[in-house]
Amino acid sequence: MNDLHGIIFAYHSYRNLGELTRHRNTCSLPYGGRYRLIDFMLSSLVNAGVSDIGLIVHENYQSLLDHVGSGKDWDLSRKHGGLRILPPFSTAERSQREYRGNMDALVGVSSYLRNIRQEYVVLAWGHLAVNLPMADVLRYHLSTHSDITIVGTANRWGIPSECQYLQTDETGRVTDIAINPSTAPEGLESLEICILSKSLLLELVEDCAAHDVHSFSRGALLPRLNQLKVTTYRYDGYVGRFHSVKDYFRCSMDLLQDEVRADLFHDGAPVRTKDRNDPSTYYGPDSKCHNSLIADGCVIEGQVENSILFRGVVVEAGAKVSNCVLMQGTVVGKDACVSYAIADKNVRIGDHRILSGQESFPIAIPKNTAV
């Protein structure tokens, strides 16, 4: 599928993620034991045969750069095309201020957009946990002869005030878009992933630049729903949306359900990520472990239940971990007891410590701290 080009918005951070996004933006939030959120969209595109992807970044993208590198782990390190990181381009008339909306971001990279080799472009956010059949979305877009196809779901995954909702007529054509309402209306929750032709994209970008319009949905789509044929592609599989620490905890625990894992990790559409060359996980003679998702490279000598362990986590003898998300390199000391906690990278929980949050209010322990 070399007719599709990917543009991923990777500059946004939700403020309610607090400590978790202090050193990174939402796209590089670790999730699911070995992934960063960006891996899901990158993999959805790569698995659909997309070979050229632009990643629009702005601030706080060091950890993202470190993660994606040359794009090699997604087979995106190519002589022609492949992965391109698109940082803000500062000129005399455009100072390096924050993007006011995703159209603003597209205007910022318009010279890159003009050089796209493919006929169609998919615009997507990089902070959803979803394994989307993107090839199918393009096929649908072509078969319906739409100008724009937006992916929506009948489920309710996000907080209404952070989401958009699509109203459609009986043919599936979008008649209205509710943007960040206080309560969720009828219709489909938009995943804000859309496919359109390169030429239409350039037209919209030019027009929006000329009129200082900075939101794609509000500024470019909403006023044109009468002129353009905008349709929806419905995807009802699992989507993780991360607006707050609580969401993050809930979406992590969702992974302990077989159906959720079946939606996110299935044969033929692997979620690729940065290779770390870890050995297998070692369970000691007195270890106990059930109902958990455990990445490679862990050393578990204590007990683990209902938890997500990232690569290289150590649970020392006698320690008990339950209902936790322990990111890469976390060490839980001897006889320590941790529950309902999210430990960011390289946290050290001392021997005999007892730490306990609540399901409705998990404790988030910042990166590199010793408790």
Binding site: G32, G33, R34, K72, L256, R261, L264, F265, P270, V271, R272, T273, D275, N277, D278, P279, S280, T281, Y282, Y283, G284, P285, D286, S287, K288, C289, H290, N291, S292, L293, I294, A295, D296, G297, V299, I308, L309
Partner: protein, 403 residues
């Protein structure tokens, strides 16, 4: 471009004593230690020792090994200058070419490859041992004593010495005599099959050996004795640490089980000497609500819903509810269905143990024929079938049958 040191890894052997496990792959490609194949150990040792040019000599069933090594990227051996090269035997004008006749002949046939890099030293390695070793220290020793050949040796017990090639050395560890499997060993220094040669010397002896029609073109049988006889300086280099030959079913099982005692064997978690591997993309492994997992290695893509103890699970292994796996090695993609029991066994890639089947039995100390049971790759053992200890299952077993 000239290199100081090039490694040649002999990976053409069939490994016939691994029986069904090597019916489709060469021995160096046999899975080991949860995430690896045997060849990852010498390859990673090369990279960690600063050797960036490695020739891998293949012959028997090379397909899987070739695709596994690929560009060499997982080992950082995809280099513009040097890197890893697969070296199969090839046709030539005139003599038409031959298969590799022996270990020495394999190197002889690749003199052209070595001349391309014109190294000072060549390290000869084999693809059937599990160990961590800094070859650069051995090369340093070789230079320091100005040897023509340096042979890495391991101190074994006098009883074990009868099964090895034994080096008899003087006070400076210079070899004066080599004995293959001596009934009355004079020393306990066993050859590990790791050699450093000064390339110009080895080149001479390879050419002379090839001209001798009676030679079996083997390092241990011909090149080493010939060099000794000619009075070349041959040094022994004492190695200390974990080293295991994995050429038989029992030793392969043993060495895998050693990985469950990381403090006394090889520490795979030591960041200063990583063992690299090419690994498929798999999600983290999952343990089910009623699973029990203890004293194991478990790898990405596994789903454990039953009980697993003292075992090695490679990637994408499934152990269903109520199934029990003990003291066993489950290679990539193996499935143990509900209620099945697998003990003291090696289950090869993508084999399926159906519901309530039983594979292997614990040793009871009375049966002299007891051994580890092996189920070959892709084989299905039917419902309620029984595979007895020491069985070597190459074909599907029907439900209820006993083999």
């Amino acid at each position: 471009m000239k290199k100081e040191c090039v490694a040649m890894l002999l990976a053409g052997g069939q490994g016939s004593r691994l029986y069904a496990l090597t019916s489709h792959v060469a021995k160096p490609a046999v899975p080991f230690g949860g995430k690896y194949r045997i060849i990852d150990f010498p390859l990673s040792n090369c990279v960690n020792s600063g050797i960036d040019t490695v020739g891998v000599l293949t012959q028997y069933r090379p397909l899987e090994l070739n695709s596994y090594i690929g560009s060499g990227q997982p080992w950082d051996l995809d280099r513009a200058d040097g890197g890893v090269h697969i070296l199969p035997p090839y046709m030539r004008e005139g003599d038409q070419g031959t298969w590799y006749k022996g270990t020495a002949n394999a190197i002889y046939q690749n003199i052209g490859f070595l001349d391309m890099y014109n190294p000072e030293y060549v390290v000869i390695l084999s693809g059937d041992h599990i160990y961590k070793m800094d070859y650069s220290l051995m090369v340093d020793h070789h230079k320091k004593v100005s040897a023509a050949c340096t042979i890495s040796v391991l101190e074994v017990t006098m009883e074990e010495a009868k099964r090895f090639g034994i080096m008899n050395v003087d006070a400076d560890d210079i070899i004066f005599e080599f004995e293959e499997k001596p009934p009355q060993p004079k020393s306990n220094l066993a050859s590990m099959g790791i050699y450093v040669f000064t390339w110009s010397k080895l080149r001479e002896y390879l050419i002379a050996d090839e001209a001798d029609p009676t030679s079996s073109n083997d390092f241990g049988k011909n090149i080493i004795p010939n060099m000794l006889a000619a009075g070349e300086k041959m040094a022994a280099y004492r190695f200390q640490g974990y080293w295991k030959d994995v050429g038989t079913i029992d030793s392969l099982w043993d060495a895998n089980m050693d990985m469950l005692a990381p403090r006394s064997s090889i520490d795979l978690y030591d960041p200063s000497w990583p063992i690299y591997a090419r690994t498929p993309v798999t999600p983290p492994h999952v343990t089910g609500p009623d699973s029990k997992v203890s004293h194991c290695l478990v790898t990405g893509g596994c789903a454990v819903y039953g009980t697993v103890e003292n075992s090695i699970l490679f990637h994408s292994v499934t152990v269903e509810e109520g199934a029990r796996v003990r003291y066993s090695i489950l290679m990539p993609g193996a499935t143990v269905k509900a209620g099945a029991v697998v003990e003291y066994s090696i289950i090869a890639e993508n084999a399926v143990i159906e519901q309530n089947a039983r594979v292997g039995t614990p040793p009871d100390g009375t049966d002299p024929d007891w051994g580890v049971a092996v189920v070959a790759g892709g084989v299905t053992v039917g419902e309620q079938a029984i595979v007895t200890a020491h069985a070597m299952v190459r074909d599907n077993v029907k439900g209820g049958d006993r083999v």
